[in-house]
Symmetry: none
Subunit: 213 residues, 2 copies
DNA sequence: TTTTGTTCCGAACATACGTACTCATTTCCT
DNA sequence: AGGAAATGAGTACGTATGTTCGGAACAAAA
């Protein structure tokens, strides 16, 4: 199959986009506007080429009678990642994260997420935030926090840290120096907490936040 | 959702069948022939009912602008929604959202998102937050804000509002009473702003926030 | 019965949309 | 360079297709 010109690629991509957004294919004039093409005849011309090259099929005389053939851009991209929602996170409650082997068996809840949120991180899980206690971390009630299990966080990482004495979990930026850990809220107007390293345990590293209103 | 008449059921089934066979929805006359209906107006009449009852959505004046809702949510469940990232949002910069017809022109960026973030909202787009100015809304630098175009926000909605005199865009909870708009930060420790309704223009409603660290 | 509401019919209308045709502009090849 | 081929632009035409409208057929009330 021949290489497509930029314009043809643009048209093909636009059609795939359009079908995803609406449930029906675009008209010639939709494509014209969407791809900033000056004339419908140019669209028709390139559509014929796309058809000849096997990228799509067209039903003659039928409005929007376009059928994409190779669904490379659509169905192939289904490598979405299933992330378990292991429970809630709130101040005053220890996390109690079960071992990763049991994650998908006693499946509480799952969310499927696009890869760009996970990247190459392994064993990402999610927690539902309860209450306003994470507000310093710019995390609201009901948010979904994506976390990656980690034992040795790097300086600057946002972590879920539990203060051992208070049994309190917070989301803060983590800095360690000379055995003293500084927990810095994401909202810099708030004050940081300094505690000895042995007084906190890091439960994981925050890799994302999802808020759905 | 009400029970469908035999004719309506027949029409609905035919549409699903048709989309299965071709990749595009049927025209009114396709349905007329496929269901042995004597007039296009009867098809239109029943399509309106199907739309009112929530079985499908129609785009006015658009050929084959039919979108099935029921089966769609099941079979399309694996299908992720492509949301265009239309630009940046920052205090001091008006949004300048282009018309939806031009969204998917080759230019911009896109993110694929799972359906639960979009729900049934239409024309959702995303903006990349630049700077710390949205911190009151629990939105950090680099966050992706999902927005839905809206003209009349409801009280309590989080909206992107532009203060006309200051040319400043903020994300705040919107409350209107007696022509006075109160913009309430999500972080309740911050102070609210009260302005006359005519001094602000609402650019859209925030439906989600995505933070990827 | 009359009334009222729903469904259906047939035709006509307005336009959304595919296609064709002519002429420019660019790209390619020798 | 020069001519051919490919690509693009602009316009016009025909029809595919959504929409409207007056009225008939039918059933359920009143």
């Amino acid at each position: 199959m021949k290489k497509l010109s930029p314009r043809q690629q643009s048209i093909f991509d636009f059609i795939a986009q359009f079908i995803q957004n609406h449930q029906y294919p675009p008209s010639v004039r939709d494509i014209q506007n969407g791809c900033n093409i000056s004339s419908t005849s140019v669209v028709d011309y390139n559509l014929r080429i796309l058809q000849r090259e096997g990228y799509l099929r067209r039903e003659a005389e039928v409005s929007r009678g376009i059928e994409l053939l190779q669904e490379t851009s659509l169905s192939q991209n289904r490598n979405y990642i299933n992330v378990p929602v292991l429970g809630n996170i709130a101040a005053g409650e220890p996390l109690g994260i079960p071992p990763s082997e049991t994650w998908h068996s006693n499946s509480i809840d799952n969310v499927e997420l696009p890869p760009f949120l996970i990247q190459d991180k392994k064993e990402v899980f999610a927690l539902r935030v309860k209450g306003e206690s994470m507000i310093d971390a710019l995390v609201a009630d009901g948010d979904l926090v994506l976390m990656e299990p980690i034992d040795n966080p790097n300086n600057g990482d946002m972590v879920a840290a539990m203060l051992k004495d208070k049994e309190e979990v917070t989301l803060k930026h983590f800095y360690i120096q000379d055995g003293t850990v500084t927990l810095q809220p994401a909202n810099s107007r708030m004050e940081a907490i300094k505690v000895p390293a042995e007084n906190i345990s890091v439960q994981g590293r925050v890799v994302g936040v999802i808020r759905s209103i």
